[in-house]
């Protein structure tokens, strides 16, 4: 996959747009998750603008690539990229979490076209992804399935059931993406306890763990769009079993006061918070040119 410098700059601009929509939507709704959508933002943009074979005008197309957000609490990140990609008007982001909205707190496939699988109860995304990959194999279809996991999400035992079975079936049309942002809602104490923001990571040595379950691993910087797109190409070209892209990321990435602070996992955005975030994002956008 060749990526021109102009295209890369455009994707970076869209990632800034995504972060802007996330923070504005959560500000408007008065509630929502922020840290997770921010760590996933660059990968979500790369997936929906470059990697996935999809058609926003035909969201149920049978041979489309599938994407599952196992860390479903990052829903506003997914809604923002779907809106930016043209699945629905950007204006609809204002309905996030409101009564009768298609944009539920956690993604609901029965409510919003473009959501390939419902999620939100953690640890549940990889299994349906395996089901889709097996369905493609059984039906002789060529679509590829991508599942984005969180590092907290991966503490659920079901993830490892799915990892084990996917390894046994040697599915090569399934790519997992681990958004390894290093934090979860409250987290595990350091040796000095819970006194400050420091936490032990949600996953220890994920590369070795996934390899031991029969997966290929590719480790990257999840905020480097080019690295991520290259990793997706390599994963798709791998024909010996499933591959996981272990993406090292920063929770809250892009908004200085959110970065690496577990409190921004989910938190209302004040008017002042919004203003500062918008200024920081505007500065990042100005620096692109």
């Amino acid at each position: 996959m060749s990526l021109t410098p102009e295209r890369l700059t455009e994707l970076k601009r869209q990632a800034i747009n995504l972060r802007r929509h996330v923070v504005e939507s959560v500000h408007h709704a008065g509630a929502g998750h922020l840290g997770g959508p921010m760590s996933a933002a660059d990968m979500l943009i790369a997936l929906y603008f470059e990697v996935l074979n999809i058609d926003p005008a035909d969201p149920h197309k049978a041979d489309r690539d599938r994407f599952i957000l196992s860390k479903g609490h990052s829903s506003i990140g997914l809604y923002s990229v779907l809106a930016l990609r043209g699945y629905f008007p950007l204006e609809e982001l204002k309905t996030f979490d409101a009564i009768d909205s298609r944009l539920q707190g956690h993604p609901a496939m029965d409510m919003l076209p473009g959501i390939d699988m419902s999620s939100g109860s953690l640890g549940q995304g990889l299994s349906p992804g395996l089901g889709m990959a097996l369905a493609a194999r059984l039906k002789g279809e060529s679509f590829h399935t991508y599942v984005m996991l969180g590092d907290g999400d991966s503490q659920e035992g079901q993830v490892w059931e799915a990892a084990l079975v996917a390894g046994r079936y040697r599915v090569d049309n399934l790519t997992a993406i681990l958004d390894l942002n290093g934090l979860q809602q409250y987290g595990w104490a350091t040796d000095t306890g819970y006194g400050d923001l420091a936490r032990k990571p949600p996953q220890e040595n994920p590369e070795a763990r996934w390899q031991s379950f029969g997966w290929n691993t590719i480790s990257i910087n999840g905020h480097d769009i080019k690295q991520f797109i290259d990793a997706c190409s390599r994963a798709k070209a791998e024909h010996d079993g499933p591959t996981i892209i272990i993406a090292h990321t920063t929770k809250g990435k892009g908004i200085s006061y959110m970065e690496d602070d577990f409190n921004w996992h989910s938190k209302p955005v004040t008017d002042d918070d919004l203003k500062q975030a918008q200024e920081e994002l505007a500065a990042q956008e100005a620096a692109l040119v």
Partner: protein
């Protein structure tokens, strides 16, 4: 829905519901290219092993990992396939309940859940393996269709009727060979109640294999000059509330009978329906808020109070 009147008599033929499950899976596979079987490593108990031998391309071993199995089924169903799950009711209902809730029931995907070894009669495996609250749990889940067939013929008919239905289906099945009473040409309709014995003194509602014991109870009552109206309720949800109210009004006395807890299953569902539509004096025959134990079938039926004699006693108490 119009109630079916189908007088049944207990014959001499015995067949296990699980054998009908295995046979019918092969039949469905041959008729429908979308059908696949996912097994939680119990195929040689549930009898889905017939598929593994005769139609191996349609059999996917998922191992001892029910949560993943339910999720895989959701993914396959979202791609247009019809997955049938093979495991014990106790695991399919409890172990992966959150997966059923979030990725199957909420998006209303057509996953077919075949709960084998339901009720008390599980071959001396005891309370860990006896599932006596599945009807209550499944009935409370939005979008679920919940079916509890009486015999092997009705298992087949219910599988044929639900294979192509929208949304998730739970079919409760038993382990051991029991009397077959339904005729081979019987057609299952989701939500239909069936009068299997006409009577005028007391109405007995029953579900699952317990309906066969209720026919025996009706014989016991007939010997006392009591005419029992026996209504088989194979679909616990959607419940035929109007048909149930009508059958209750006919005699003014109601007994419910099930190999299941009296809390929230058939007895609960009938009480809820009659409470709103046709308040009627009633007795619930079933397991009374307790877990079971491992023992011979006849001992379990007797100790936990679900023999034909128990049903007849409950009916007499209302007269």
């Amino acid at each position: 829905m119009k109630t079916l009147h189908l007088p049944l008599t207990l014959g001499d033929t015995l067949k296990a519901q699980r054998d009908a499950f295995g046979d019918t899976l092969v039949e469905l596979i041959d008729q429908d290219e979308r059908v696949y079987v996912l097994d939680g490593d119990l195929a040689n108990s549930t009898k889905a092993d017939k598929v593994s031998r005769e139609r191996p391309a349609r059999f996917l071993q998922m191992g001892i990992a029910e949560q993943n199995m339910m999720g895989v089924a959701a993914g396959m169903a979202s791609c247009g396939l019809i997955p049938w799950l093979s495991s014990f009711a106790c695991f399919l209902v409890n172990r992966d309940l959150d997966q059923l809730r979030v990725v199957v029931a909420q998006p209303n995907l057509p996953v077919k859940i075949a709960g084998a070894y339901s009720g008390l009669l599980t071959g001396k495996t005891g309370k860990t393996h006896q599932e006596v609250s599945d009807l209550s749990v499944m009935r409370a889940m939005p979008n679920m269709t919940v079916i509890s067939p009486a015999d092997a013929v009705e298992v087949r008919a219910a599988m044929i009727a639900t294979n192509d239905s929208d949304g998730p289906v739970y079919i409760r099945m038993t382990r051991d060979p029991e009397t077959v009473a339904f005729p081979d040409d019987y057609t299952f309709e989701i939500g239909r109640t069936i009068v299997v014995r006409e009577g005028s003194d007391v109405t007995i509602f029953s579900t699952g294999a317990q309906t066969m014991r209720c026919l025996q109870a009706a014989d016991l009552l007939a010997a006392n000059g009591i005419s029992a109206h026996v209504v088989h309720v194979p679909t616990i949800k959607p419940l035929d509330a109007e048909g149930i109210a009508e059958a209750a009004a006919r005699t003014g006395r109601v007994v419910t009978a099930e190999d299941h807890t009296i809390i929230g299953g058939l007895g609960g569902a009938v009480a809820e329906a009659l409470g709103e539509l046709q308040p009627t004096p009633m007795r619930r025959v079933g397991i009374r808020d307790t877990f079971g134990e491992s023992a011979a079938n006849e001992d379990l039926l007797a100790k936990y109070g679900i023999t034909p004699e128990h049903v007849a006693d409950a009916a007499r108490a209302l007269l």
